[in-house]
């Protein structure tokens, strides 16, 4: 493999990690609450701004900023579930989707009013250190993105496997009958999903910039990934995230840089025609 190709693969894995984090959040929330959370990209954006505040305004280290985004976004997730999605419990699923779109408007415009439309950069000490892996030179920050993302996803996946979240995702009514407090589980899931998005925003902030509309393409791609992996399938979301990251990186190299953002759509068309239930989904429809 040429060094350039290795470089592109490394970039693809980095971007894929970010996609996988958000797609996992989408899959978790969809699994438990049956709502594709359209505001999750905006939550990643807010996570980026929280990390920016911690590093730039409060002069904290990057590690503290990462934890800060997790905590703040987790709390936000709890609030959103309690005050916005819980009252919609009996309504048609389309209502939840529209509400999450309202949330997107609120978050984006809040960020625009609070931080302005200028692009902000999160300062990370790891952004200047360069490491060489298999002939590709990467900044430490990119490596950290991959490591933190994988650690978070593996940890969370294990957590879900052994907690009631899994039960609620499988069958909400059945879980309720077993005495599981499904509403509380929904709150926890929303908190975890939002925190995932927050981590993604804080991780990508030092590499790409943080700005109010940064979440829009992220969430659309995360949605495409969840369809690719199968709606509600967490493993599918993670694998799909890396697949899309790699396709974009290699496609930008071999096909076209201009249309990089359209590859996700091409992939979607392919999946919908060949395997509509997704790679890891059950054949339900």
């Amino acid at each position: 493999m040429s060094p350039f190709l290795i470089q592109q693969v490394a970039n693809g894995i980095m971007v894929g990690s970010i996609y996988a984090l958000i797609a996992m959040g989408v899959a978790m929330i969809y699994g438990v609450m049956n709502v594709p959370d359209f505001a999750l990209g905006a939550k990643a954006m807010l996570g980026g701004y929280v990390a920016f505040l911690f590093t730039a305004t409060f002069q904290q280290s990057y590690g503290v900023a990462l934890i800060g985004s997790i905590v703040v976004l987790g709390l936000l997730g709890i609030g959103v579930e309690r005050w916005i999605f819980r009252p919609l419990a009996g309504a048609p699923p389309i209502n939840g989707f529209i509400s999450s779109f309202g949330l997107l408007l609120v978050f984006e415009n809040f960020a625009l009013l609070a931080f302005g439309s200028t692009y902000r950069r999160i300062l990370s000490p790891f952004d200047r250190q360069v490491v060489h892996v298999l002939g590709a030179s990467l900044t430490m920050q990119r490596l950290i993105v991959v490591v933190v993302a994988i650690a978070t996803m593996v940890g969370l996946h294990l957590f879900i496997r052994f907690t009631a979240i899994r039960a609620v995702a499988q069958n909400r009514r059945g879980a309720l009958l077993c005495g599981i407090h499904t509403e509380r589980i929904a709150g926890v899931t929303m908190a975890l999903g939002s925190a995932l998005a927050g981590v993604a925003g804080a991780l990508v902030g030092p590499i790409a910039m943080v700005y109010p509309t940064m979440g829009e393409t992220l969430i659309v791609k995360a949605f495409v990934i969840t369809i690719l992996g199968g709606m509600g399938s967490i493993v599918g979301a993670i694998v799909g995230g890396y697949i899309l990251g790699l396709i974009e990186a290699l496609g930008a190299m071999y096909v076209s840089v201009d249309y990089k953002d359209a590859f996700a759509f091409g992939l979607l068309v392919l999946v919908l025609t060949v395997r509509p239930q997704g790679l890891f989904g059950k054949a339900a429809r």
Binding site: P36, F101, L105
Partner: protein, 317 residues
């Protein structure tokens, strides 16, 4: 006769509006609201009457606008001749997208249409040779004057004439939707929205009727785009982006999903509301987001649906 009275009064107010609204900016908003109402009405056919959340209508709107504007500015077509191809292009894309996605249910459909919208604005932005890229198409001429065979010519330079043009288009679209909804096709759509499984069991061809509604709706959205391009005289890829489709969803939800006049009421309300709240100009979209969430929570049937419930309670029926 009592049934017809509100319609006649409403129509009369709409026709007299250019003489009632003297403020130029308000009149501009009114024209915009009429054009958006066409988009919202087209989306209502899909979202309200069929129960499909399409986020591609911004793209259909943009396709119609670009198609007409390109034919007028680059191929120097007569404006009126560009309307059928513009609507046909939007409908063709709608049919293609529908063939691919309408077999899927619910969220799959919404997400697929969403990514279609992204690709359309991306292609419009990058296909520089044809679409002028991010610069957009500017100085789109007013509609070609119509020769009235010895009775002079009808030109469309003034805002008043453009208002009547948009109003006529809106009236035709509303009439079309009304006729469609009260036809056997409309009953099939309604049956699908209420219970897809039952409708299928009763012999309704789900995919066919969804595809029909979706492509007709796309054509109507294209028409709205044509009128927009010729009124604003400038379009760019952002006009075909996701936000126009989102706003249309918002207008419908707040006006009343699946009600005949909900899209129009919602659009009028949301386009003129910011003017009443001028002090909150910067917070406009933030407040709209909150309003949308509150509507979903407390008044999911929207303004028109809520008014209908009140009316029913009041008259005791």
């Amino acid at each position: 006769m009592r049934q017809a009275a509100p319609w006649i009064i409403g129509g009369a107010i709409a026709v007299a509006a250019p003489f009632l609204v003297t403020n130029g900016y308000l009149f501009h908003l009114l024209i915009i609201a009429v054009i958006w109402s066409i988009l919202a009405t087209s989306l209502n056919l899909v979202l309200g009457y069929t129960g499909l959340l399409s986020l591609a209508h911004g793209a259909f709107f943009g396709l119609g606008a670009y198609c007409s504007a390109l034919l007028v500015t680059k191929a120097e077509w007569n404006f009126w001749a560009t309307i059928p191809p513009a609507m046909a292009v939007a409908a063709a894309f709608g049919t293609l997208l529908g063939l691919l996605t309408l077999r899927l249910s619910g969220h799959y459909f919404a997400i697929s249409t969403l990514s279609f919208g992204i690709v359309v604005s991306l292609v419009l932005e990058k296909w520089d040779d044809l679409t002028e890229g991010p610069r957009g198409i500017s100085s789109i001429p007013a509609p070609t004057p119509i020769d009235l065979f010895g009775w002079g010519t009808l030109d469309f330079e003034s805002n008043t004439s453009k208002y009547y043009l948009a109003l006529l288009a809106l009236a035709l679209c509303l009439l079309f939707v009304w006729r469609l909804v009260h036809s056997p096709i409309g009953r099939a759509l309604e049956a699908m929205r209420q219970n897809e499984l039952l409708a299928a069991c009763l012999g309704v061809n789900l995919v066919f009727y969804k595809l029909l509604a979706f492509s007709m709706s796309a054509a109507m959205a294209g028409l709205a785009g044509v009128l927009y391009s010729v009124y604003i005289t400038y379009i760019n890829p952002i006009d075909a982006g996701l936000w126009n489709g989102f706003y249309a969803v918002m207008y419908i939800v707040i006006g009343g999903m699946g009600t005949f006049l909900g899209p129009v009421v919602g659009t009028l309300f949301l386009v003129t509301l910011p003017e009443l709240l001028r002090a909150f100009q910067d917070y406009r979209l933030l407040l709209l987001g909150i309003l949308l969430i509150l509507t979903m929570t407390f008044l999911p049937q929207g303004i028109v649906g809520g008014a209908r419930t009140l009316h029913r309670r009041w008259t005791g029926r």
